[in-house]
């Protein structure tokens, strides 16, 4: 029984035929649900007929096999076709249930057929699908056929008196002994058919609902399977973020050990040359001096670039020191007060640093603040970072890619972002980060 809160809309459109059944008879009979149910059962019956027909008369010719081989094939076939059949059934369920059924299978994390097979055989979902496919050949056709035949009979009752005289079927016999010949008899039969229509509609809808329930029971992902998928997604997202951080670090290291050192060597060589040429007062001395100044400019640019890619201080000294350096370079005066008893895991550390850097960049770009401040405190299992300013306020997380990107980055490690920025200020951004990522514990 569906439970609705009393203040909800009185009649939200039913999502599936079970909900439709619980409506009043008028609502059900005027809706499309009986038709959808009939269609559902009809195509189910069709699928089973085609499948059994193909198995019996098709290339396999089961009917010509010895009995034990027939039994074996009957068991093996569902195992092989179980997964595609289940996929079709999940898809077909949309006819009588607007809510889609997810795939209960986990994505294999290793390539190759062997890994795939091992995973599938071990999964409960595979065996439920197997069971369903067996039921599909044994029990479910009876339901499908029962529903279809019932409607067929009713339609026949209504149509037969009109069709019979033309088709030349001879006298119409109903229930074995009732011979219809006269006009009143015919009218009675039609009336009987019409009277049975609502009952047929109800029955068909109920059969479809029961069948749909059965499909959901066996083929829909269980809660643990949904959870497994969510965990898998979370893990892959963290792996992605980690790979991204590792790449940043690698670029920083390569630039530091390569370009920066060679540039320092070049500056030194130019310096020595300049020193040697100083007595000559020649053009050469001036040009070398200029080259050295340029190289020094490039070195300064490179230093800024490298710090932007990955700050060395973050690895060596952690978030407080690294953020203090960002604050030192911030055009708006920033007071930093971050107290942490221990280091965060590297992935969270990087998120914390880049979140604060981005927040301070926003302060400089948009807030027109005269001062800003950053605090960081451990609260329970999380690190709570606050960035505030005395600017004009009015920042919204929907605005711009900066804040949205920030929220995404924080969410990767299982953190949260809160923004308070009334027009007129002050603005405060709160970043809550877990001490560990959801996956590394």
């Amino acid at each position: 029984m569906e439970v609705r809160p009393p203040d909800a809309a009185p009649h939200p459109a039913p999502l599936n035929c079970r909900q439709a059944l619980l409506r009043g008879p008028g609502a059900l009979l005027t809706s499309s649900w009986p038709w959808r149910s009939l269609g559902y059962l009809l195509c189910g019956a069709l699928v089973v007929f085609v499948a059994i027909g193909a198995a019996m008369k098709g290339p396999l010719h089961i009917d010509r096999m010895p009995a034990y081989a027939q039994l074996l094939v009957m068991l093996l076939l569902p195992a092989v076709v179980g997964m595609p059949v289940a996929a079709t059934e999940r898809l077909r369920l949309r006819l009588v249930d607007a809510e889609p059924v997810g795939n209960p299978h986990v994505t294999p994390d290793q390539p190759g057929l062997r890994a795939w097979l091992r995973l599938r055989v071990g999964e409960a979902a595979t065996w439920r699908e197997f069971g369903y496919t067996i039921a599909l050949t044994v029990v479910l056709p009876l339901i499908d056929l029962g529903g279809v035949l019932l409607v067929g009979c009713v339609v026949l009752l209504i149509a037969a008196p009109f069709v019979a005289p033309f088709a030349g079927l001879g006298p119409l016999v109903v229930f074995g002994c009732w011979h219809i010949r006269s006009l009143p008899d015919r009218a009675l039969v039609v009336l009987l058919g019409v009277a049975l229509l609502p009952a047929a509609a109800y029955t068909v809808t109920a059969l479809a609902a029961g069948r749909a329930e059965f499909v959901r029971l066996l083929l829909a992902p269980r809660e643990s399977e949904v959870l497994a998928r969510v965990q898998e997604l979370t893990r892959s997202r963290i792996r992605l973020a980690d790979a991204f951080e590792a790449e940043r670090r690698r670029i920083e290291r390569d630039l530091h050990d390569g370009a920066q050192q060679r540039l320092a060597g070049l500056i030194m060589t130019l310096g020595i040359a300049e020193h040697g040429l100083q007595q000559e007062r020649s053009d050469g001395a001036r040009l070398v001096a200029r080259a050295r100044k340029e190289a020094e400019g490039v070195q300064a640019d490179l230093r800024e670039l490298i710090r932007g890619i990955y700050p060395r201080l973050l690895t060596d000294r952690g978030v407080p020191a690294a953020v203090a350096e960002v604050a030192d370079r911030c055009p708006v005066p920033v007071r930093v007060d971050i107290a942490m008893a221990q280091r965060l895991v590297p992935a969270v550390e990087a998120v914390a640093y880049f979140a604060l850097q981005e927040a301070l960049t926003n302060v400089v770009k948009h807030s027109r603040a005269r001062t800003a401040w950053v605090t960081g405190r451990q609260e329970g299992d999380s690190l709570v970072l606050r960035v505030g300013d005395d600017g004009v306020g009015g920042a919204r997380s929907e605005d711009g890619r900066g804040l949205q990107g920030l929220a995404d980055r924080v969410a990767v490690v299982g953190g949260r972002l809160k923004l308070s920025s009334p027009p007129g200020g002050p603005t405060e951004l709160v970043v809550e980060l877990p001490w560990r990522t959801p996956d590394c514990g």
Binding site: G265, I267, V334, R335, T371, G388
Partner: protein
């Protein structure tokens, strides 16, 4: 300047730069008694040669973190007369401050210099010699950052004169209306100044008696 021929231990893991530095120092009459590319070798070389000055990089093997810096601090603690010059690509006040705070009994000179400065050959040699002679040289870029931070951490220094006046009257125990009358401004202006004072002193709403805390900060200064 060659009359003070310095005995130098050099630690730098980039080979070309290391060789260039040796050449530079020897060209101007000093002697590199050892040139190493690993922070562990640095400590061994100092133990062996007892140089006048150590010139070292920050990031070095074996860990490629701040191994060079840590070795430099350790050496300062161990040899009170040893002069240490750190050459680096990092304009980081944190490293410079740690270096300054290390080796409390050290009488030796101290330097923290960006690698770009090697290009000004004469100035660079002056730095080396002055550090060897017991002087302290911090890169101008790093000094600039340090001064900025100091200003930032002087809480009352960031208040405007109006805010300071308001805070003074708050310290006398006056209410907002009194303060407004005394300064000939409106009450909302006073309220705004107080909000700004709280913000600048880092008193957020969770701190309870912000008014009292602000006054305490004022009285302590």
């Amino acid at each position: 300047m060659a009359n003070t021929r310095l005995r130098i231990v050099l630690a730098e893991d980039a080979v070309l730069l290391r060789e260039g530095l040796v050449e530079l120092l020897e060209r101007f009459g000093h002697r590199a008694v050892a040139a190493v590319g690993d922070s562990r070798d640095l400590i061994k070389a100092v133990e062996e040669h007892r140089p006048d000055i150590v010139v070292t990089d920050v990031r070095m093997p074996p860990d490629f973190n701040d191994d060079g810096l840590r070795s430099a601090m350790e050496l300062r603690g161990r040899y009170p007369d040893l002069a240490v010059l750190v050459l680096t690509q990092y304009a980081a006040t944190a490293y410079a401050c740690e270096l300054l705070e290390s080796g409390e009994h050290s009488r030796g000179g101290l330097g923290y210099l960006l690698k770009d400065r090697i290009g000004g050959v004469a100035e660079f040699l002056e730095v080396v010699e002055s550090v060897a002679a017991g002087g302290t040289v911090i890169d101008p870029e790093v000094v600039r950052l340090m001064l900025r931070r100091r200003q930032m951490n002087e809480p009352l220094g960031r208040l405007t004169s109006r805010e300071r006046a308001v805070l003074g009257l708050m310290a006398e125990g006056r209410m907002n209306a009194d303060i407004a009358a005394a300064l000939h401004v409106s009450q909302p202006t006073v309220a705004k100044s107080i909000g700004s004072i709280f913000l600048k002193l880092g008193l957020s709403e969770g701190d309870g008696h912000r008014r009292v805390l602000a006054v305490l900060t004022f009285l302590r200064s």
